[in-house]
Amino acid sequence: MAIIGKRLVDQVRSTGLKATVAQRLDDGFTRLTSGLSWNDVRGVLRGDPPGKPNNRVKPHTEAFWFHIRPTFYHEAVTTLYPTFRLGYMSALFFAIEIITGIFLMIFYTPSPERAYQNMLDILTNVPFGQLMRDMHRLGAEVMVVVVTIHMWRTFLTASYKKPRQFTWFTGVILLIVTMFLSFSGYLLPWDQLALWAVTIGTSMADAAPLVGPQVNLLLRGAPDIGAGGLLRFYLFHVVLFPLIGVIFVAVHYYKVVRYGISLPPEMEGVGEDSARKVGPAKRVNFMPDILTNELVYAAIAIALLTIASGTFYNAALETHSNPLVTPNHTVAPWYFYWLQGLIKIPHILPVLPEALSTQFDSIMFNVLGITPKILWGIIIGPVIPLLLMVVPYIDPNPSRRYSDRKVMITLGVIFEVAILYLSLAGIPTGVPVTRFGFVGGDPASEIAQEFMPDEGVGKVKRVPWDQLAVGTWQIVPPDEAPNAPEFNHLLRELQQDMDHRTREADPNGKKLSGGTANVRVKLIQPDVKEFTLTISFTDDKGQPQQYSKTNYLHRNSGYEKE
């Protein structure tokens, strides 16, 4: 102690107080950056040329975070093409998810009694709560997109080829981890969307041959999702998948550093890999160029994410989960639509004529016990990621040139089109032209579902509360309520929808016949109205039927903003 003090006093005596403080601060700064003084860092951020000797190499040997980054890149991979910075962006979003996720964890309890109330508290009582939740949710969706495009880019530039096969393999695992991270987070708000999306997901596991029920039981912790399932999904979401993610990011990135980023295909000879053979003239140093670029990209991405989350993006929160009520038209998260689409394939060999393929289905079922759902959803579905994993090991073509890979690229495009087609088939409206995958109940309940969906905000909830005119209003032909333009517009839209469904049959051949309807609005409390839509129609047997659905609407519930 005394010695340190003495030195300090000596230094102040010889150089003055100001210079001493400056020198000591700079010294501390240099330790923090593992070898760069304040002026060095300033030079990096200004893009000054390196001095001699180049101090900027020091952190690459001294510090952990810099030692995992290379000291230089080949100049051909520092432009937007060929990487588009997608790997970096994936890692960045992973980091954003971890940070916002930790914030949300503080205010969250994985228990069915508390989880939903916690969500309400995060939105109404926690400073930054809604912003963090929106960023976490939007970031997760963007991350799925970025990771998928990253894989696509790698496929198109054939960067998975020797020696990067294993890098690709770990990349597919990271894609799966990303999807499962996102999916496991779905359950945590404990709202209707959560419960039923995850129920669908785990039911898929349930149908798997041999181990299905056991896997389902392990995932859910009970025959149905409840306290056990919520806790398990929480632990998957905050421990297991992030841990697998971190481990595989480490392996993945080690391979990237070890083999370098592959050059654009046209720059190399066939079978050649020159990413690590970079002459001094072609080197771009990590500091300053790569580092500052990355900082700028990170800043832009974070700013855009924050602005989107703070303005137009609102992570959905449906009503409290209810195991007894299945909302109509429940779907899995969008990145699993293709799996839902696969399950909708009606036959094992859908290309055969209807009669033959039905025959074939029953033969397959009697002989192997395989139904189309098991084949497409449970066998083919999981085979797809496995197929992606082995792509580099089975692709016999040594060339990375686009012109030499016409077959592979065509296959890739066909695969992507198929995934998009199946994704469209996965949603209840089905594929636009072919109408494959269409799901619909009887027309009356579909009308009610369209205007008053079980979950989420429909057209009825968007009508300003004051305009919901108390009384009974006919739809065919539409009545006019005084001073309620949006309410009248709603009545007309209802009439048009009924008219449409009367004239045109849906893809299942169902038509609305003899439909009349009325809307009854009742004031049940000074600020609560009861909105009942009653549709009368004639069923297939010519019997009169009635369908009615009720929404309760409070003056302050603010649906028109969503």
Binding site: A299, H320, Q525, T550
Partner: protein, 302 residues
Amino acid sequence: MNFIKRIITFQPSWTLRIITGMVSVVAFISMCLITGVLDISGAMAERDHEFTGRNIEAGAKYYFDQCARCHGGKGEGVDGLGPALSYDGFLGKWDPAKNTLGQSARLKAIGWTSSLKGYIEAVTAAGMPIKSSPIWENPHPPFALAYGGPLRDDQIKNIATFVVNWGPGQVAPVATQPEGGAGPQPTAAPLTAQQEKGKQVFLGAAGCQACHAIRGVAAGAVGPTMNKLATTAEARIKDAAYKGTAKNALEYIRESIVNPNVFVVAECPTGACIANVMPATFGTSLQPDDLNALIDYLGSLK
């Protein structure tokens, strides 16, 4: 092609890097400030308002599913089944100036020291532990899953929020009030052997009790209540909208059982009754003896 090439080989200049970096950081910080700090009270209070509104909506749904049968659609109570809720004796007087409810006479009478909402939640969840008044045949049943009922805690909280929200819209109670008013119910005449058999058919073979309520006998909540059915039937026949052929109460009851779609009434516990909900098969599925006994029993409810 040249344009694409320029994009994919794009390298931001130093000026561009510094400016976009700075702008992004400033945008990020200001967005955080705007959403998280400056707008704190405004946005969060507004969200709070919205979710209270949505909770009341959910409460309304559960109220009409579970409570309205005994407490009435306006909270006015149902004679013989449940007391009124939306009147000042229970909720307390609404004070428009202060926007609050005053002291509840009911809570004072039973010595409940916690909040009104707490009382509603407690009784809805666990039921009434004792028969607190001679007027109501059955004490309030428990509704919480934990006490053997159908509702989760959040649903019960929503219901309580909905009931308390009647504050400014209180109605005059129509039902007998526990604090006074009408005396105990008149005792009905004892049942004959035939009517007793009909009662057993109602509860057993025919399964009527699953959908219909009779005070002190059954509590079905789908179809119309059968209290005073004979009296109601007489009134129905005289109703201008009546489409059937019955001439007296017993014929009306028979017609309603055998051919329920001839005349569908509007008074079901959850709103207007819907055609075809009541099976039209009892005319053939019940033994003629049983059917006659059942009609005799229902006709005795005056």
